[in-house]
């Protein structure tokens, strides 16, 4: 019998071996082990149908072990009678379940489509990169497996993994890459794509010699790996991308889906076995510091690294809920059966509301404290024990045993608070700093999404009334905070869901706000923190009506010199870098003012900068790539009745043999004449004279106006020469006038 301690890298099912696990041992070995791991799913329904299903299952080649049992469905008051089917080979279970569901579509299925990694995590407390003790025989069969650390450890042991990075020398959508940049452990080289044979031979040598645990690519999912695999097959030069021999790579199809009012595109994915492939351009959690966010996300969700790196936080939090259910013997329904209960119109009116969003007091304000509830909604879910199976809360607290959702969220919330507190007094040079930041950000999205998933009709553990209860108590908590602030002599300038902007004459030191924070915490039972004290902050009115405040349109500078902007041009994803940079540079000039009273000294400098940038634009001194707009396609091209600029740019791309899917961003320049746009990813670039300078000047003007108008410092000259005869295209970007019926 052999023993090791090491880290679990990958886990998947295998037709021959059942369950395969890859470990990185502390000694540096990469070990492929296997484990006997049976998988059980359950059926529920009328007795005679269950008997028929029993007879049918007995005849199946998988020979499942059948039994009768009882289980707990979270949405049902009584235990459910079940027919359970235990399949010895984990790889066979999905196929058996699929056939069974087709044969008996009228039955309810439980624990049927749960990811293998989650099933394993529920039994062995494992998770990606878990530090484990393993005992196995000479046949590589595991006899004992124990996790030595927990996903909730703030400082786990660092894993000595090996990374190989592959990056084409340009964006394949934009141009044809000529070289592949390869780097690993201090080695850097470039391999030419033409001819491809030497590239494949060299890459194979590197893969075999270096044997990386992670293959980190740029455009690997959508372009690089499909190309390499196709070429290696064509030239009959096998490329060992997988560690698992004799197995092809896993493909996941591309998809576009609609969420939170916008369309999102996920490119196709390529998953490896025994080694992890992550594509920087196809991973929402890939941060500026690389893998940390992805690994932290994988640890807490227990999803395989390659899956966790590419899925939405919604899938992550859903997996965490499933894991909690499995560990607490709660059945995981395949399809949710419950629907929203009927309610009166008045109930709906009172409860179907979001967070409280105030209208701020327009203008420039000095010495303003911004205080925020820490993870307000998740904290409310935990504190008020909001879970689909629990009664709705009647106060900001609960006396009941914690339900499924609070059980899932509590450790995550506590870990995030611990990390946030540690970050508060950690210098940026601390080796843990970046990892903590990445983890905090990854957890934030999981926590935020958990609230959304409570209200999602297809979520397995969702219930709309619970979702509404969270916002109800969120609004109450914010109003309690407002009352506390006003009782203590503060003026409340603005409130936005979980944050308040408050001021009081002479209050400009953090410790002066501590009594207020303590009072709010005491009254609500929720944690609240001072985000910072603004030297000055300006809340802006609507562009069209200077008397109407806009909740999320402001900018301000904190005492430490950092600044916060919301709702202005620089925050828009479609804006060209030239406009964003100019607006931010103007803001930075204004930010030199220590007080609102000093702003007058810096406004002329900001105006001068604007004049210089307008001049640069007129004289063609702005590089073309700084003028590129990037808009998302909201639908298929053929569905457009009046094609948007992005759709017109896509038509040009399609004519050049390139395509984009809904949810993908199309980059283009505004030009004079023709269709008015020039797709940036076309092989040729437009001549500089073709650029629609007037349009960009109008954009620049609007950005400058946003920054300068709160101080009544908009230079009239700039406006005068920015008027354009064809102002119609600007309509897409501006707010609509209030419409009166006729």
């Amino acid at each position: 019998m052999n023993e090791i301690t090491g880290w679990l890298l990958d886990l998947y099912s295998d037709t021959r071996d059942g369950l395969v696990l890859w470990f990185i041992s502390e000694g540096g070995e990469r070990l492929r082990l296997r484990q006997n791991f049976a998988v059980t799913f359950a059926l529920a329904g009328p007795d005679e149908r269950l008997r028929a299903a029993w007879r049918w299952l007995q005849k199946q080649p998988e020979k499942p072990q059948l039994g009768r049992s009882q289980g707990r469905d979270l949405f049902l008051p009584q235990p459910v009678t079940l027919l359970s089917a235990r399949v010895a080979n984990a790889a066979a279970q999905p196929h058996l379940f699929e056939r069974c569901a087709r044969a008996f579509p009228d039955l309810a299925y439980y624990d049927a489509d749960v990811q293998l990694a989650l099933r394993h995590a529920a039994v062995y407390d494992t998770f990606p990169l878990a530090h484990c003790y393993v005992k196995y025989d000479d046949d590589h069969l595991i006899h004992e497996l124990r996790a030595l650390d927990s996903a909730w450890d703030v400082d786990p042991l660092l894993v000595p993994f090996r990374c190989l990075m592959l990056e084409p020398d340009c964006d394949p959508q934009h141009d044809t890459p000529r070289k592949l940049k390869v780097s690993y452990e201090g080695h850097n080289c470039e391999l030419a794509f033409e001819p491809i044979r030497p590239l494949l031979i060299n890459l194979r040598a590197i893969l075999e010699r270096y044997d990386p645990d992670f293959l980190l690519t740029v455009w690997g999912d959508t372009w690089l790996l499909p190309l390499l695999l196709a070429e290696s097959e064509r030239l009959n030069l096998p490329l060992p991308l997988n560690r698992e021999e004799g197995r092809g790579v896993g493909h996941r199809k591309e998809k576009s889906y609609f969420t939170y009012g916008q369309i999102v595109y996920n490119g196709q994915q390529i998953h490896l076995y025994g080694r992890c492939h992550l594509d920087q351009r196809n991973s929402s959690l890939w941060g500026p510091d690389g893998l940390d966010g992805i690994l932290e996300g994988a640890r807490v969700t227990a999803l395989p690294i390659q899956t966790s790196g590419r899925t939405s936080p919604g899938t992550g939090i859903s997996s965490m809920q499933i894991l909690t259910a499995l560990r607490n013997n709660i059945l995981v329904p395949w399809h949710k059966q419950q629907v929203e209960q009927p309610k009166t119109a008045l109930d709906l009116l009172h409860h179907d509301q979001g967070g409280l969003v105030y209208q701020p007091i327009i203008g420039v304000h000095s010495e303003v404290g911004e205080i925020d509830f820490i993870s307000m909604y998740p904290s409310i879910m935990v504190r008020c024990n909001i879970s689909p199976e629990k009664p709705l809360p009647t106060f900001l607290g609960s006396d009941e045993e914690p339900g499924l959702i609070p059980l899932t969220l509590k450790p995550l919330l506590e870990k995030r608070v611990a990390i946030k507190l540690a970050l508060g007094h950690m210098p940026p040079w601390d080796p843990r700093y970046k990892r903590y930041q990445a983890a905090s950000s990854a957890y934030k999205w999981l926590l935020v999404t958990c609230f959304g998933y409570l209200g999602y009709k297809n979520a397995r553990f969702g219930r709309i009334e619970s979702h509404e209860a969270v916002t109800t108590w969120g609004r109450e908590a914010l109003l309690i905070a407002k009352e506390a602030a006003e009782d203590m002599g503060f003026t409340v300038l603005h409130m936005y869901v979980d944050g308040l902007w408050v001021k009081q004459e002479g209050y400009n030191q953090p410790e002066q706000f501590t009594p207020l924070l303590d009072e709010i915490s005491q009254r609500t039972g929720l944690s609240i923190a001072l985000d910072g004290i603004y030297r000055w902050v300006t809340f802006m009115p609507s562009r069209l009506n200077s008397k109407v405040p806009v909740p999320n349109r402001y900018f301000g500078f904190f005492q430490d010199g950092s600044f916060k902007v919301r709702g202005i041009d620089a925050r828009r994803h479609d804006m060209p870098p030239f406009i964003v940079e100019t607006q931010m540079d103007m803001l930075k000039i204004l930010g030199k003012a220590e007080t609102a009273a000093q702003l007058g000294e810096y406004i002329p400098q900001a105006q001068a900068l604007l004049r210089r940038r307008i001049n640069d634009l007129r004289r063609g001194r702005v590089p073309l790539d700084k003028l590129v707009m990037g808009q998302k396609l909201s639908r298929e091209l053929k569905v457009y009745k009046a094609p948007s600029p992005a759709a017109r740019a896509l038509m040009q791309l399609q004519a050049a043999g390139k395509d984009k899917r809904p949810g993908q961003r199309v980059r283009f320049l505004y030009i004079r004449g023709g269709s008015g746009v020039w797709a940036w990813d076309l092989p040729e670039k437009p001549p500089k004279e073709a650029i629609d300078v007037e349009y960009y000047r109008e954009l620049l003007w609007r950005a400058a106006e946003t920054v300068l108008s709160p101080f009544n410092a908009v230079p009239t000259q700039a406006r005068a020469f920015s008027f354009t005869a064809e102002g119609t295209r600007m309509e897409q970007a501006v707010e609509k006038e209030p419409v009166y019926g006729t």
Binding site: L348, V357, Y740
Partner: protein, 103 residues
């Protein structure tokens, strides 16, 4: 992502639109004053949303009234200040009034 109920801003816009014919028939100067009233009501949309009144126009009208009253109070304070400065005091204390009571 659908919406079961319109947001308070949507309700406000609908109510405002419902007065389109009324507004059209007003003189231009009155139209501007009406627009001001509606703008004033927008300052309290958050409170109107929280109130969740089945007839939101009542809340919007009260919001207009609230802003009007704030303006009246502001002007009253201003006027009282000006009046206090400009009105001659009816019985100005004599310079030696205090001394007169001295024994």
């Amino acid at each position: 992502m659908g919406r079961t109920l319109p947001s308070i801003t949507m309700e406000f816009m609908q109510e405002q639109e419902a007065f389109g014919r009324f507004r059209r028939a007003l003189r231009r100067s009155d139209q501007l004053a009406l627009d001001d009233l509606f703008s004033a009501a927008r300052n309290h949309l958050a409170a109107a949303a929280y109130a969740a009144n089945a007839l939101p126009m009542e809340t919007f009208l009260l919001s207009m009234l609230l802003e009007e009253h704030k303006e009246v109070m502001r002007l009253r304070t201003l006027v009282e200040g000006v009046v206090a400065q400009q009105t001659p005091r009816l019985h100005p204390p004599a310079a030696d009034e205090g001394d007169a009571e001295q024994p």
